[in-house]
């Protein structure tokens, strides 16, 4: 079923909307959540909450890219779940955040008020300046939270090549943020 048809189901308050969403996007949503939260049970809970959030937000919203819309919800819920949990987990949000410290300019200051939306817009510009493969690798790693080895399989490249691209893109992002005047 096409995205707009599923959205129509939400708008008509048909319970089939959630079944169709689960069939089309359930695996992707679970995959995102599993890589971020401490347990599979937590991931299942986040995915269920995502369906509920979608049900509550449509109408009024009419997302064009339903997969992206749902993935944002599940990612946010999973990050919140991770942070509220006191269970230490190897990998997950912690590992990705650790990698992203490479992008933080050395003279950053936390006293500067941080504008999340402005930073997201800068990230859009940065990502669109990359070639498609580099953008794909970065997004798969830091948005979808894929393991490096999985990204390598998806693009039929070596794990080393993916790591090298990530190194370079993080380095370029750090420089970009400095040039854009972000004191993160």
């Amino acid at each position: 079923m096409e995205d707009y048809q599923i959205v129509d189901l939400y708008w008509s308050r048909s319970e089939n909307a959630i079944a169709q969403t689960e069939q089309k996007y359930g695996r992707m949503l679970t995959s995102i959540s599993v890589s971020l939260v401490p347990t599979v049970q937590d991931a299942e809970e986040c995915v269920s909450d995502t369906y509920l959030a979608a049900w509550n937000s449509m109408p009024d919203e009419r997302p064009v890219y339903l997969g992206a819309y749902l993935s944002k919800i599940v990612r946010r819920l999973s990050i919140n779940k991770y942070r509220s949990s006191h269970t230490a987990k190897r990998g997950g949000v912690g590992e990705l955040v650790e990698e992203l410290t490479d992008c933080i300019p050395s003279d950053y200051s936390l006293e500067t008020e941080y504008d999340n939306q402005r930073l997201a817009e800068a990230l859009n510009r940065f990502l669109l300046s990359l070639d498609e493969q580099k953008r794909y690798i970065f997004i798969r790693r830091y948005y979808y939270s894929d393991a490096v080895i999985d990204i390598a399989r998806q693009i039929r490249a070596s794990e080393g090549k993916v790591k090298t691209v990530l190194f370079r893109v993080r380095s370029a992002l750090r420089k970009f943020l400095e040039e854009e005047g972000f004191a993160i």
Partner: protein
Amino acid sequence: MRADKIRAAELLFDAIGNIDDRIIQEAQTAPTRKPVEKRKSFTAIIALAATLTLIASVFAATLIAKIVDSLNSAPDEGHLEDYGNASVETNASLSQTLLDAESSAIVIVEENDIDFFDGKTKIVWKQSGESDYRMVTLRSQADAAKLGKELKNQKQQIAPEDTESPECEVWITFGDGTVISPYLKTSAGNIGYAELFEYSPEIEPDADLTDLINDLISD
């Protein structure tokens, strides 16, 4: 300080969750090469092959002409023996230099045997496809300083983006956990920590660096 940096990275991680839906949607499928690029590559390969054939033909013709000239001007047998020993001087690449290296200073190790924190600078290399590494520990701090200086002086000849990995991968470990490869531009993103990372070459190590490394690993 470290906690602040982690906090800043968390904010960045959160902001990645607000990027444009189209970018997120695009990444749901792996990129594929466009057919036009394949055609371009194919054309480039044909052009390269034709150029190489032409160069080889010219080189062969020149060589034959020189040999014929020499035979005509130097008929004695003793002199002719020298022709067999003549060699064309070429600048060997760092990769090839290391593959050819023979020295009692070279030890064969596994990655687990390499101490990244012993304060000693080491040159480590591995032939593609092999599991063992070859390693030379620099004898003095002066040698380490010389190598560090030369790495900074590199002329940074940019390798084409689609350059294949060299036959031999090379890393310099500085004994404080940091690891770099002379095939990558030295930048924050290209410095590894306590591991021999894989890489695709960005630059070609220049002749001065190649010569220095050759000296450092020799007896």
